[in-house]
Symmetry: C2
Subunit: 272 residues, 2 copies
């Protein structure tokens, strides 16, 4: 797609690399960012190891407009994200006054002491804009470096999602491309995926602003079923919807020509 | 952990980066590889773009012992994995005779022609050892470069899993470390995660061959519940089990000292 505003998602946590947890955070963020107009072109999972986090964050700084990280902000010994981020940014890890205040409030409301382990969560790279955690303890951070905005979020899904909706959306809307995105899909039957493939290839070339993808859904009564999804961009929603519909209608006509048919109406969903 | 035999998982597919699909393939592979003794230290999701695939594969070649890729092997226009792999390896993309034969059989059994789009799935990097696909059409490939074994699998989960079990396990067992892995876990109540954190930190330092992780499970009757998981390695299963149990028993004693208790027996699972 042209005029890309690129984003990376960096998921931090050894539990993801031993396969104990499925990375639903990354797919949730990928979908939200895509519908805000960003082009997510990497999801990178790294262990809770400072050198590995630094390596991947540095690769992205100055290269993509937005990096969102999740995980590694808690009180335990393997939560090293903030330390690694400070290193990657070439700055200091400092006690953030606002974050400290949030933690004091959080624990005093629960009648718990602010131990050294808990206070650790207030240490952040110098210059962080603190992101409040409305559910758990660990605050996040948004910080700019070169042309990159780095957003650091916790790994607990409910906390990450709430902070994204409450605070991050407002910040990153300012750097998101001013475009509308619409996703439309339909289903075909009676056409094998390989037969429709050249049609999709041709349409993809003709519409560089659209993402066209077929997903085989297996055989029903010996007839192949395929789902076709199109994500289209436009200056306004109507334009994006028109592009997506045109592409799907063209695919429907080609399916007919190849002896198949469209079995569901075109359905669409916009990001607005 | 010491004596690491490192592995990377590279997931290829734009559908993962628009968040339409959760990357269950990566977590499945991560778990299988971990229990075979590999240390998975990256999962990287890249779009179906040749330059991006080449960049990430080249980063891993010569650096880690094993790279497993999934996705991008089908007949459609955006399936570019084999072309990208040939480029990354610095070799040619060639028509693989064995793969062609498999495809001829696959389609003739179904009474379908071997079109140009379908034959595309037989083009692989020169030197590929073909991996049979017992379910779908696209064969995979195993190929060595420097000190790295590169295993290329399709993205359809059932196909990927079947090929891994049927063919890949036998090949990569030869490069897997000869160690046993045991995972044990227990649950604590009445101790906040931050209170047990220094204990886990100390034990992690003392046992570099073990992976120790706490997972808060929320509050039940106002008491915090935490699950503790330990993955330990040893030369034989008994040794690994002994290490994991010792660690968990120590954590149980510390929990008692901190006013909490263990609420489930230690349960273990081995990779054998």
């Amino acid at each position: 797609m042209s005029h890309d505003v690129k984003a990376w998602i960096i998921s931090i946590g050894s539990e993801l690399l031993v396969g104990r947890i499925v990375n639903t955070n990354a797919s949730w963020l990928a979908r939200r960012l895509t519908f805000m107009g960003f082009t997510v072109d990497r999801i990178i999972v790294v262990p809770d190891v400072i050198g590995d986090i630094v390596e991947e964050v540095r690769r992205g700084l100055g290269r993509v407009r937005l990096i969102v990280s999740t995980g590694g902000l808690g009180p335990t010994h393997d939560d090293v994200t903030m330390e690694a981020m400070a290193l990657a940014l070439g700055g200091q890890l400092v006690l953030n006054g606002e974050a400290e205040l949030l933690l004091r409030e959080f624990y005093s409301r629960r009648g718990l002491p602010l131990t050294r382990e808990r206070l650790k969560m207030a240490y952040m790279p110098e210059g962080c804009r603190v992101l409040r955690n409305p559910i758990g303890s660990a605050p996040g951070c948004a910080i700019s470096y070169d042309e990159t905005l780095l957003v650091i979020l916790p790994g607990v899904p409910e906390e990450m999602e709430a902070m994204f909706e409450n605070e991050v959306v407002r910040i990153i809307t300012q750097i998101a491309p001013r475009i509308a995105m619409v996703e439309c899909y339909t289903q075909l039957k009676g056409v094998p995926e390989a037969a429709i493939a050249p049609v999709l290839k041709e349409l993809s070339k003709r519409h560089p602003n659209a993402y066209i993808k077929s997903h085989p859904k297996g055989y029903i009564l010996e007839e192949p079923h395929i789902e076709i999804r199109v994500i289209a961009r436009g200056n306004v929603e109507e334009e994006a919807r028109e592009i997506a519909k045109q592409i799907l209608e063209q695919i429907g006509r080609e399916a007919l020509r190849l002896g198949g048919s469209t079995i569901t109406e075109v359905k669409c969903q916009a990001n607005t």
